[in-house]
Each structure stands twice: as structure tokens, then as C-alpha cells.
């Protein structure tokens, strides 16, 4: 099998699955989940062919808009990494779903959309042109919308789905504009043509293009200030959260930035913008995560924060570092989400204040979660440690001191919330409300889980534990792949440092970043230890920003306010313009013509003398006209 064919199959298989699942559902609904897993497996197996250094093969292309747009596959390490992450994590999520989603309604829709989601991500990554990239980019948007709103009877889910779609769409128009401007100037959508032609563009145009790309990435990767959709997306089934956070959607933005970094490099201010966006997002996400009490929301904000790091890395020109962190993050965040899913599945709430001492009931989950959290905060020798330090190092090298400061504060906060969450959930005191139905009504539970009358939380089914273990293992080992990864990058002519795993260790431990990040972890640990005092302080003083932070720093309020103003404006237009002015014109026309009609009918007096008077007057007028 050639690489081209494998690449094609890689995303065609999920698509075929997405198509087949609803059809099979007509005949054999029971088979559907397994079928989906099978397709996921097939796709992730194909991925091994791509790793195996197969010959590239003849390019496979398709004329989509004949004469204007021909799409093909691009298989380089930059594009393969997100694709592989998508298929593998996707596969694990599918397995996990077997247990997690058991007994839900509309499973066919669920599995079809998950497969489509995976296919969309793979397609986006493997596209050799901007248009196909955008196409699949949008397919993912559609899938995320549908999957976030999967429990559509819950108004919060329905709203969250809509919000995700709308917010990312704002970014998408930027991306679309950028793509079209490039295409109009170069006559093609292909990456290679456009990167070549971009240098010839005027700076303002190029600035617009760069801004469009950044906007697109900001929307998709939930960067500041469009990060608001991601926390709300927690209304999705937890499996979907894992998929969005680890495998598909949010990675796309980072991938895009990495992909278009040649264009960004041409616009001086754009990289600075990207740095600051990344750093601010990293800090903001960490801060918000630190003040959240909803387990999934913490993880969501954490994703926002980690994506900030990746964006920051792109901003300092370290695409490789960003992709490396993307890889690590996908693994540990996937792990964290799946653990969180297991927890939520077991006890039926997402509020960490109602959790505690779960270690006794689900040790495997607790340990794997701990591993994930340690990777998140960057404990040495876990994958997160290497990749994050790599980024910090690149930031230092890039001389972006301002963003670096923000990133370090964020790192401290990361350590704090990672520790806090882990300990509160698994080792804290069990709360009395623990086993009771304290669930807010609005939160939709998986049907498989009915709140137990017994005093024990659910056991975690094996098909949910297996993916956890696999991912936990990967947290320890994945960084070892840095060697082959960087080799592949260099081999494909992409900018990457030549590193082997050993060199990575040496580099990391000898860098300034190592000291910085250790300090940050230490500060985080300190904060964690002082959390009781902090809590008391916050409780007593209630500083305003704390309340703001617990409400997402007011971004949601701002956007809601804006949306309301638009709606008010619409109401106003409807009331005033449509009802009064436009209808008014119609009514006035009717009124005026009727009035004129009545007036002119008054001329018709019915009196014969009047009739004769008109005749006489007309005669006088006509003769007058004639004679003069």
C-alpha cells in the first residue's frame, strides 16, 4: 500500500463508516457500536502504514470544481501527526463509548457523527490545499455542533451546540476570507502555490490574510477572546469532550497556525499577535480552571490554557514545539477526560465539591488520573514536562519576555489546579452528599447510570479502563518519539531542530526553562498547600475579580450582551422599520389612493348641472388653448 492510498483510506474509512452506520441501524441497531469501533480500528491500523515509511505513490487527486479546484493529499509529518492522533485517540474513544454510551437513544447518530468527526479531522490534516482544509474544518464544526447538542432535549446542550458552532463560525469567516484572498491572487488553493505566491503580495493584503488565519485558529482552538464556547461544550457526552479536546477540533487551529507559519512569518506583527494571544489564553485558561468547581469545566479551561501554550510556540516560530506539545497534550488530556468520564459515570455529578475519596472505589482511575495530571503540570519525565519545557525554551530563545511571564504564571496556576483537582476528587474527604441525588435536574445523565441506592459508586467497566491504561502508559513514553518525529520533519524540509530523546533530556534539563518551570510548579505546590488559607481569604474578602473569574471573567456576559443588542436591534428593525416604515409605505400607498379615489369620486356629484359645468369649463379651457 502506498502512502497516498493509505492517506486516502485513513479518512475515507471513517466517512464510509459514518455513511454505513445509519444504514445498518435500520437492520441491526445492536451491531452499530461494534461496527463503529471496527471502522475506527481499521482507520487507526491504516495509520501504521503511514508511519512505516511506505513509498509515496502516485498522487491521488479529485477534480471538485473542474478547472478551478483539484484536491489532493499532503502527507508530511506536520499533517500526519494530527491525523494519527485523531485516529488513535478516536479509536480509544470509540472503545470507551461502548460502555459509556450504552443504552442511550440515537446511538446510530452518535457513532456516525463520531466517525465523521474523526474523518473530518484526518481530512483537514491531510489536505494539500486550503479549500479542502476548510471543507473538513467546517465538517468538524458541524460534527461538534451536533455532538455537543447530542442530548438535544436538554436546553443547555442545545444552546451549547449552537454556541460552539456560532463562535467557531466567526473564526471561520476569517479563515475563509484569508483562503479566498490567497486563491484570488494565486489562482489556486494549493498550499505550495500559495506559499510561493504569498511573498509577492502587498503587505496590507498579506496582513489581512494573516489576520484571517489567526482568527480562524483562535475560533477553532478556543483562544482568547473566542474561548467561550469550549467550556460550554461540556454539555456534550464526556467521550465527545475527550474527542474535541484531545483528538480533533481544537488541535485543528494549532495545526493551521503551524501550517501557515510561512505566511505569518511574512507579516511582522502577526507573530507578535499570535504570541500574545497564546500567552493570554494560557494564563486565562489556567486562572479560570483554578476557580472552577465543575470537573469537566476545569479540564476544558485547562485545554484552553494548554492550547495557549501551543499557539504561543507557533508565535515564536517553533512549530515543531507546538506540534510536540499537541501530541503530548492529546494523550494526557484524552486520559484526563476519559478518567473524568469514568468518575462522572460512576457518581453522577460533575461538581468536585461533592466528590472525594474516590481512590478507594476506583483506584485504577485515580492513578491514571494522577498520571495525567502530573503530565499536565509538567512533572519531569512525563510527556507534558518535555513538551512544555520545550515551548518555554523556545519562547526564551525567541526573546518574547512578556508572553513568557504570562506563560510562567499560567504554569504555576496549572500546577495548582492540577493538584487541587486530583486531590479533591480522589483523596479528599468523602462528602456526605456524595451518594445522594444532588444532581441539578438539568444535567443529563447517561441512562446506563441510574443513581444507585447502594452506598457504592459504580464499578468502572473493563472496556472503559483499557483505554485509560493505554493512555497512561503513553504519558510516560510518548516523548521518546521526539527523535523520529524531528527526523521526519527535517526530512520533509519543515523547520525543526534535530533532536533525539537523549538530546531532548539534555537540552531540557540544562535550559533556563527547566528552572523556570520547576519554580512554577513549586509555586503551584505552595499555593496548593496554602489552599485552605487561600479559600478563607477568598471567602472572607471576596475580591471582585474572583467573582468575575468564577463567571468566566465576564466574556460570556459580554457576548450575551452583544447578542442581546443585536437581537434588540432586530426587534427594533422589525417593529419600526418593517412594521411601520415598509408596511407604512404600503399602507400609505393604499390609504392615499383610496383617499384620492374618494376625493375624485366627489367630482361625480350626480347633479346634471355640475356635469354641464365641467363641459362648459372644458370648452372654455380648450378654446382658450386653441385661440392663444
Amino acid at each position: 500500500m502506498t502512502a497516498q492510498l493509505a492517506g486516502l483510506l485513513l479518512f475515507l474509512i471513517p466517512f464510509a463508516g459514518a455513511l454505513l452506520v445509519p444504514l445498518v441501524n435500520f437492520f441491526a441497531p445492536r451491531v452499530v457500536p461494534w461496527l463503529a469501533v471496527l471502522f475506527g480500528l481499521a482507520s487507526s491500523l491504516i495509520a501504521f502504514f503511514l508511519l512505516g515509511g511506505t513509498p509515496a505513490g502516485a498522487p491521488i487527486t479529485l477534480d471538485i470544481l473542474p478547472g478551478f479546484f483539484r484536491s489532493g493529499l499532503l502527507l508530511d509529518p506536520l499533517s500526519l501527526l494530527p491525523a494519527l492522533i485523531a485516529t488513535w485517540i478516536g479509536f480509544l474513544v470509540l472503545i470507551y463509548s461502548l460502555g459509556y454510551m450504552k443504552g442511550e437513544e440515537n446511538l446510530a447518530r452518535y457513532y456516525a457523527l463520531v466517525l465523521l468527526f474523526i474523518g473530518g479531522m484526518v481530512g483537514m490534516a491531510l489536505a494539500d490545499n486550503f479549500l479542502a482544509l476548510f471543507f473538513f474544518w467546517e465538517v468538524m464544526g458541524v460534527c461538534s455542533y451536533q455532538l455537543i447538542a447530542f442530548f438535544y432535549k436538554d436546553p443547555k446542550a442545545a444552546a451549547a451546540g449552537a454556541k460552539a458552532f456560532l463562535t467557531t463560525k466567526i473564526g471561520d469567516i476569517g479563515l475563509l476570507a484569508a483562503i479566498i484572498i490567497l486563491a484570488v491572487n494565486s489562482g489556486s488553493f494549493s498550499f505550495s502555490v500559495n506559499f510561493g505566491a504569498a511573498a509577492g503580495l502587498a503587505l496590507p493584503v498579506l496582513g489581512l490574510v494573516a489576520f484571517g488565519f489567526i482568527l480562524g485558529a483562535v475560533g477553532k482552538s478556543a483562544q482568547f477572546p473566542l474561548h467561550v464556547w469550549l467550556p460550554d461544550a461540556m454539555e456534550a457526552p464526556t467521550t465527545i469532550s475527550a474527542l474535541i479536546h484531545a483528538a480533533t477540533m481544537v488541535n485543528a487551529g494549532v495545526y493551521l497556525l503551524a501550517r501557515v507559519s510561512p505566511v505569518l512569518a511574512l507579516v511582522p506583527w502577526s507573530l507578535t499577535l499570535v504570541q500574545w494571544i497564546g500567552a493570554i489564553t494560557a494564563l486565562l485558561g489556567a486562572l479560570l480552571a483554578a476557580f472552577s468547581n465543575d470537573l469537566k469545566r476545569i479540564l476544558a479551561y485547562s485545554t484552553v490554557s494548554q492550547l495557549g501554550y501551543m499557539v504561543l510556540a507557533v508565535g515564536v516560530g517553533a512549530a515543531f514545539a507546538s506540534q510536540f506539545h499537541l501530541f503530548s497534550h492529546a494523550i494526557f488530556k484524552g486520559l484526563l477526560f476519559l478518567c473524568a468520564g469514568a468518575v462522572i459515570h460512576a457518581i453522577g455529578t460533575r461538581d468536585i465539591r461533592q466528590m472525594g475519596g474516590l481512590y478507594k472505589h476506583m483506584p485504577a482511575v485515580a492513578i491514571t488520573f494522577l498520571i495525567g495530571a502530573m503530565a499536565l503540570l509538567g512533572l519531569p519525565f512525563l510527556n507534558g514536562f518535555f513538551s512544555k519545557d520545550f515551548i518555554l525554551e523556545e519562547v526564551i530563545l525567541g526573546g518574547a519576555w512578556g508572553p513568557l511571564a504570562l506563560a510562567l504564571i499560567a504554569a504555576a496556576l496549572t500546577a495548582f489546579y492540577a493538584l487541587r483537582t486530583t486531590f479533591v476528587v480522589f483523596w479528599g474527604k468523602p462528602k456526605p452528599a456524595f451518594y445522594q441525588d444532588t444532581l441539578p435536574r438539568a444535567i443529563k445523565l447517561p441512562q446506563a447510570f441510574s443513581l444507585p441506592q447502594a452506598t457504592h459508586p459504580h464499578k468502572t467497566p473493563a472496556n472503559m479502563v483499557v483505554p485509560l491504561l493505554a493512555l497512561a502508559l503513553a504519558c510516560f513514553l510518548s516523548w521518546l518519539l521526539v527523535g523520529p518525529l524531528s527526523e521526519a520533519w527535517i526530512a520533509s524540509g519543515l523547520p525543526a531542530p534535530a533532536l533525539s530523546a537523549l538530546e531532548l533530556i539534555r537540552e531540557t534539563f540544562s535550559s533556563l526553562a527547566f528552572i523556570f518551570s520547576l519554580t512554577a510548579i513549586a509555586v503551584g505546590l505552595f499555593l496548593f498547600l496554602q489552599r485552605a488559607r487561600l479559600a478563607r481569604y477568598f471567602h472572607e474578602q471576596e475580591p471582585g475579580w474572583i467573582r468575575a473569574a468564577s463567571r468566566g471573567l465576564g466574556f460570556d456576559d459580554l457576548y450575551t450582551w452583544l447578542a442581546d443588542r443585536i437581537r434588540d436591534f432586530g426587534d427594533w428593525v422589525l417593529m419600526v422599520w418593517e412594521e411601520r416604515v415598509m408596511e407604512g409605505i404600503n399602507r400609505f400607498a393604499a390609504w392615499a389612493s383610496l383617499g384620492l379615489s374618494r376625493l375624485s369620486c366627489l367630482l361625480q356629484t350626480g347633479d346634471v348641472h355640475w356635469n354641464l359645468l365641467y363641459v362648459t369649463l372644458t370648452l372654455i379651457v380648450v378654446l382658450g388653448v386653441v385661440l392663444w
Binding site: 369620486c601 366627489l602 361625480q604 350626480g606 346634471v608 348641472h609 354641464l612 362648459t616 370648452l619
Partner: protein, 99 residues
């Protein structure tokens, strides 16, 4: 010819119109119409005199007069019917149709 009857024709015509405009009796309306008719008949005859073909115009005038008689006959029949409905000959009663 020293006399010009045309101004007289116009005066007569004007009188007829004046009569039509101001008199509110159907019979007086008839008189107004007749005045118009006489003015035109006179004009026709005068035209023959001016053109030196009095025979032509007089024959025309005779025809016109007989046609007028027809019109008057229809008019009177209608006035008769009108009187039967309204017991009056006042044009003020002739305002059923308007607007």
C-alpha cells in the same frame, strides 16, 4: 355683406349653456338644449349664406331640425318617465346616481 351673424350665434350658444347650467327644471333644460340647437342651425344656415350655397345648408338644417325633433321626443319620453317616478321635474331630484 355687412352683417356678421357669427357673434350672434356664439351669444345664443352661450345663452343655451347658461340656461343649462342655471335652470333647475327639466323643461327649462330642454329650452337650453333647444337654444344650443338653434344656435347651431343658425350657424349652418349662415355658413351657406357666406359660402353662397344656401340650398345645401338649408337642406342640412332641415335634417338637423328633424333629428332634433327626434331627440326632443326621446327626451320628453324620459322626462315623462322621470315625472312618473318623482312627481317632479326638478333636477335636484335627479341625484340618485353619484360617486
Amino acid at each position: 355683406m355687412s352683417v356678421n351673424l357669427l357673434p350672434f350665434v356664439f351669444v345664443l350658444f352661450g345663452l343655451g349653456l347658461f340656461c343649462l347650467l342655471t335652470r333647475r327644471s327639466l323643461v327649462k333644460l330642454l329650452i337650453g338644449l333647444e337654444l344650443l340647437g338653434k344656435a347651431t342651425t343658425l350657424a349652418i344656415i349662415w355658413a351657406g349664406v357666406v359660402r353662397g350655397t344656401p340650398a345645401t345648408t338649408q337642406s342640412i338644417a332641415l335634417l338637423v331640425i328633424s333629428i332634433e325633433a327626434l331627440v326632443v321626443a326621446v327626451y320628453l319620453a324620459l322626462v315623462y318617465a322621470f315625472h312618473r317616478h318623482n312627481q317632479s321635474l326638478d333636477t335636484d331630484d335627479m341625484r340618485r346616481l353619484k360617486g
